[in-house]
Amino acid sequence: MSALVLALYLFVFPGFLFLLGFAWFAEWWDRKLLARLQHRVGPPFLQPFADFVKLLSKENVVTEGVSARLQAALPLVAFAAVATAFLYVPLLGASPFGAPGDLVLVLYLLTLPTILLFVLGWTSRNVFARIGAVRAASQLFVYEVPFFLACLGPALAAETWAVADVVNAQASGLWTFLLQPLGFAVAIVALQAKLERTPFDIPEAETELVAGPLTEITGRKLAIWNLARDIALVTGAALLVALYLGGPTVPGVALEGLAGAAIGFGAFFVKTLLVLAVLAAIRAAVGRIRIDQLVTWGWAVLTPLALAQIAIAIVLRGVGWP
């Protein structure tokens, strides 16, 4: 592949430029669905973009005694991590950056924002931010294990650590979620926790901790952080689509040439929106649980379920089915 095509992939489509638009679109889709589920009208189409521009123009407040550079750098690093992770998720066909073992890289990059959130809260010199940071870190240990295990299931079934190969293994239309429904459910719930959305919005519980680790974060730092959060949302959803819903593949359609790429992208787009809709529905249906309840439930229910799914997948693999 020529350098020009690679550069286009990296910066225009489906890289940086497209990702920006897609992230804002996903935020709008999420907010709009949530609003309709709550009998509200919801935001207009360009609202996420308008919010971003508005935040960019706001005053950049830095708390006394906090390193302004560190505080400005952390959201950027989070943004870079999740945007890089998105490059490895197959959209049209296999990603040109794909490598053996890139699934591990994506999982690692998706974990970074939570760790950065902890640092951001802990260095904020604010009691709400600190308690929120501790909660974010405690929560990390609860959901990461089942999330990793749930991502391991499809990899085991396809006997590869490359996202593209997991997708190809499902090209026949036998998507992983049909074989591993339990794993898919665990992945959805763990992703909801990873993105800190209700019922797992414990670190930034508004009625308890104001805005949690982000309490002191304003202006363009908050704008970048929110953008990173939106990208994490689409990357997480896109990863689940790749691992469990066959990515851009459509059963019986060969993804070749320009038309193939268009069909592949369309399939990927629709599937991602469906996953986002499920995430929004969970957000609308329940209230927030407490951190102690999450820890108990995460280790007593979610992780054993993920382990059970892995065990079932290994046994099925052993007897040679499917």
Binding site: Q38, H39, I131, V134, A205, T207, E208, G287, R288, R290
Partner: protein
């Protein structure tokens, strides 16, 4: 983490009114909780003492935005008793109707607030939408959505027409369905259950000892309701069931309020269907003879007490208001002990705090930040000394 002080209020997203909790926490666990309710003293009692009765009624109604009718009716009831005025039955029934509609809108508002405190915003949006039905009805009946201004001394200001009655009954039919829906939701929704069951425990004997009132007490199994036990306006003539719960925690308070929503819808329907005919108000004299009266009323949040003393003029000599929230604070401090940060908004919201009606003054040494209370005699002496110095009197 070492122990840190977490300031909840006077400005905080969980509490939209000025109250301050200084919470000492060790990690997530609460070590100690200090409460300060004196951020917004408005001097309504003193203001009411300086005005003629009809104007005082106008002022008293503005003690609270949610239970404005409760304050106005309770004050009017007391003054009418002192004046010896009898309100005609139709006036009493319309007062009762507005009181029950007010309870409905207050409880629906509260249900939404509790849901919001645990991040369950969908339920919040649902209940506040249903609350609009009641506010529209109240607007049609009284002309206002919030401070209804329905009372005047001797009766009510506006009549309820037959046309309005049929429309109100239709709205109430829709609300009865919704009340059934909420009743099902609070029993089945898991996140709501895990956040309220066993949280903020207040055993029956402690509820009585700490003087809890209203749904807070009834949620701990205290079977007391002023409407039934000391009937006023038309409550003696209508079928009323007092709801209690033996759960003795936030869920108990939730259960009581949701069942009261269902009961209030039934009660409003009964009131509208059996509204007696006749006058809506009697003429009240301008002055009240010397006397004192303790007026009790079951506001949405619990028993509301007005003490009114008159001395034969057209103004009250002394007005003292004991709001239900003031009676319930102690139970909050008890129920929150040993819990975690996440339970603070839930336990506080469970008493349905109404802070602007509750503010009391305290003395703060601005130099050291020390706070103290003042005895009545000291306060009188302080007042006399203050005015002497200001007027330059010997």
């Amino acid at each position: 983490m070492p122990e840190v002080e977490l300031p909840i209020g006077p400005q905080h997203p969980a509490l939209k009114e000025p109250v301050s909790f200084r919470v000492l926490v060790d990690g997530e666990r609460i070590v100690r909780l200090d409460l300060d309710v004196s951020y917004n003293h408005r001097g309504v009692e003193k203001g009411a003492e300086g005005r003629e009765f009809p104007k005082a009624l106008y002022l008293i109604e503005r003690i609270c935005g949610i239970c404005s009718h409760a304050h106005a009716t309770n004050f009017a009831k007391g003054v009418e008793a002192l004046m010896g005025v009898t309100v005609p039955p139709r006036g009493q029934w319309i007062r009762t109707l507005v009181a029950e509609l007010e309870r409905l809108h207050s409880h629906l508002l509260w249900l939404g607030v509790l849901a919001h405190e645990i991040g369950y915003n969908t339920l919040f949006m649902y209940t506040w939408r249903d609350r609009e039905t009641i506010q529209d009805l109240l607007e049609e009946i009284s002309g206002n959505r919030v401070n209804y201004g329905m009372n005047r001394l001797g009766g009510v200001r506006r009549d309820v027409s037959d046309d309005l009655r049929s429309r109100a009954l239709e709205g109430l039919r829709g609300l009865a369905d919704r009340a059934g829906f909420y009743s099902r939701i609070i029993r089945e929704e898991q996140t709501l259950l895990v956040r309220t069951r066993g949280v903020g425990r207040l055993p029956r004997d402690r509820a009585i000892a700490l003087g809890a009132v209203g749904p807070t007490a009834r949620g701990s199994g205290v079977d007391f309701d002023v409407r039934r036990d000391d009937p006023y306006v038309a409550y003696g003539d209508v079928p009323l069931h007092v709801m209690t719960s033996s759960a003795s925690d936030v869920f108990g308070r939730l259960e009581v309020r949701v069942r009261e929503i269902e009961e209030s819808v039934r009660l409003c329907t009964h009131l509208l269907e059996n509204l007696p005919s006749g006058d809506i108000a009697a003429k009240a004299p301008r002055v009240a003879p010397q006397g004192a009266y303790v007026s009790r009323y079951e506001a949405p949040r619990g028993e509301l007490v007005h003490y009114i003393r008159t001395n034969g003029t057209d103004k009250a000599d002394r007005v003292s208001v004991r709001t239900p929230t003031l009676a319930n604070w102690l139970s909050v401090v008890e129920a929150i002990q040993g819990r975690v940060i996440a339970d603070i908004p839930v336990v506080v919201a469970a008493i349905d705090p109404c802070l602007s009606c509750t503010s009391r003054t305290t003395f703060v040494d601005t130099g050291t930040g020390d706070r103290s209370a003042m005895e009545w005699d000291d306060l009188v002496a302080y007042g006399i000394r203050y005015y002497r110095e200001r007027e330059g009197l010997p």
